[in-house]
Each structure stands twice: as C-alpha cells, then as structure tokens.
Symmetry: C2
C-alpha cells in the first residue's frame, strides 16, 4: 500500500522558504542556499532534465531514493504557480494533484506528467493520487502550508528532512502549529554530509 | 582559549520550551519529553547529584563531554529563577553568571558553585566568565532568549543541538530572529540514538 511521504530541506532555524515568495521569486530566494547539497549532485540535474552537477555522492543517492519510490505528487497552488513558469517539460513523470480553488482542465504534458487541479480538499486529492501511484508512494511536495495540512490531518507516514546548516531568519517555517499529540515519531536513519544532514523519520499516528 | 558553547535540546518543530514557563512550571512543562534521552542516562543523574538512570550509553557520553569541557556558565534570569527552586546544592561546580537587572550579592554554595549577578550586559558576563573558566569553555546555558542574544552577537563558537523527535506546537523556539549573515556553520559530528539526534556544529563568525 502506498505510503504518504514528505521530503524537503529546512534551515537550522526551521525555514522552508524565505519572505515574499511568488512565481517571480521562488521560495523567497533561499533555494540556492537551502539546496546547495542538491545542486552539486548529477542525480538532481538528471531528475530535473537539465545539465549540471559535478558529483555522484550520498546526497544524490537520497535524491534518487525518493524519486524512485514516488508514484504520484500532491502540491499546493502557490508551489505549482512558482514551478509552472520554470519547470522542465515532463519533470515529474507522474500524476501531480494541485490543491486549488481554481477550476482548470488537466494539463497533460508530453511524456508521463499530468497535472490535475483538485477543488475538493486533501482527502479527495489523496484518493486520486493513490489510484495514480499504483502501489508506489505519494509525495506531498509542498509548500509548507500544504505539508502542515497533511501532517496535522495525521496522514504522513514518513518524513525526509534535510537540515541545512544555515540561518534564514525570516520567512515560512516548515513546522508551524504542529499538533503535539498526533504522532509517535521514530528516527529511521540519519546521514550527515558536508552540506546538510539527512534525517529520515517514521511517523506513526497515535 | 575558551570557546563559547551552547548545548540544548529542541523538538523537531524547533521548540526549546513550552508555554507559560516559570518557577512553578519549568520549561513550560515539556522538559520530560524533550530530555527523555537524558533521563535514562546514569551520567545525567550523577551530574545533577541525584539517584537515577538505567543506562551508560552514547547519550550519556555526550552529557559528560559537555560538562567536562565547561569551566563557567552564563544564563538568563528567568532560567536561574526556574532552577533556583529546584537545583541541587553545588550543581554546577563552577562559576555561574546570571544576566539580570536585579542587584544581588553573589550566592556562594557549599562546594565550588558560585552564582554572580551581572547587571551590565553579555560582554561583561563573558569577560568575567573567561576569568573563571581558566582556559576551559564557557557554556551559555539558556534560556532561549539569552542564547539568541549571544548567537546574534556573533559570540558562539560551537553548538550542540539535540533534536528530539516530538512536536511541541507552541512555546519558545530556540532560533527566533536569527541573523542570516553572521556565521558560516559547519557540521562537526552527528550521532543518532533512539531518542534523539545529536548535532554538533562549529560556528565561524563571518
């Protein structure tokens, strides 16, 4: 059965994005600092269908691990709007469900990426994503508020968290208003590399 | 030369303490959950001069490491007030400088613990702590706001952070209003145990 997973980077002070994010300023301008550990990895650039990277390291293995287990994606509208203007064609190679109030026809790309726009909530998106994933896992891609919604609904099974040793100071925190009684959380694995620390947690709903 | 160090536990969502902390409710009631990894260690109970603990594990080694390298402490007034009512006699076995607006004579305990009350700011406390530490390190003990003040003044050399896999949801975060440009931060060591993840960072002032 599909697991519901989250995989994202935060700064040491807990920020997922900076201030004033939007399509013209994705992630509030902090992505390069937060994701330096990804940017140097060939695996990352292969996955986003661009040229780049100089290394095939542990960081890249983890990038591949999460891409490989994922069969469908769910994301919030603002994250989609940030990406729509810049993502390569067929980036996700899977069905992507976008949570939005906007009515919009599916966006079917060349290849196997299809965006569906869901107007009736996270449970509905999850049900459709489950069908798309066909036994693979479902990744709640972001942004932070969408991840918080799934976390506080008790729906997340695993969390990959990359803690990048920088301070951001202001912006959007990943963990805001967490329900303290929803989960028992277990550390599955921790791997530290030069540019980040990879934490892999299992969340067991109480 | 003495290093200035911080050693504390935070929840996965970044909280150092819960809500409504005070002498009658130390750390807002979250200490047991945040510090479960300490409570089981004999080293911890030996250090606080009480009976307790069942294990001599990795968590305990780290507790000893930090106690052993520390030659003087600095803390905020509210942390002191929480501890004054409950700490064992001669807990610190060192000089402790309490940042406060209150004028108060030194509190000299039996043994080697002496509390001094400093009214003229963190640099003054640091200068006196350096003399007390006599080449050992100076630990900024807490609370969060005192640690933030030292961090943003660019004065911290090393940070031991224990990330406990729980959500607290509300209270006092360790990292609030961090200056994003003050330090280059390097990961020195990461050790994961069942109940927490120990992160050890070097902070290099830019």
């Amino acid at each position: 059965m599909s697991k519901i997973i989250v995989d994202c980077a935060i700064s040491l002070d807990g920020y997922f994005a900076g201030e004033q994010r939007g399509p013209g300023n994705p992630m509030g301008g902090v992505s390069g600092r937060l994701h330096a550990w990804m940017m140097k990895e060939k695996a990352f650039w292969r996955r986003i269908k661009m040229e780049g990277g100089t290394e095939d390291g542990k960081d890249g293995e983890l990038i591949n691990e999460v891409f490989d287990r994922t069969g469908a994606y769910i994301m919030g509208k603002r994250m989609f709007e940030e990406g729509e203007v810049s993502w390569a064609e067929d980036l996700y190679e899977a069905d992507v469900y976008v949570l939005t109030h906007e009515k919009r026809d599916p966006w079917i790309q060349k290849g196997s990426t299809r965006f569906f726009f869901i107007n009736d909530g996270i449970e509905s998106a999850l049900e459709k994503a489950r069908a798309s994933a066909n036994g693979k896992d479902i990744r709640i891609q972001g942004g932070a508020i969408t991840i918080q919604e799934f976390l506080n609904a008790g729906l997340i099974d695993e969390l990959y968290l990359h803690i990048t040793p920088i301070f951001i100071g202001k912006g959007i925190r990943l963990f805001e208003g967490m329900d303290p009684d929803k989960y028992e959380i277990q550390v599955l694995q921790v791997d530290s590399t030069e540019l980040t620390t990879h934490m892999h947690y299992r969340l067991i709903r109480k």
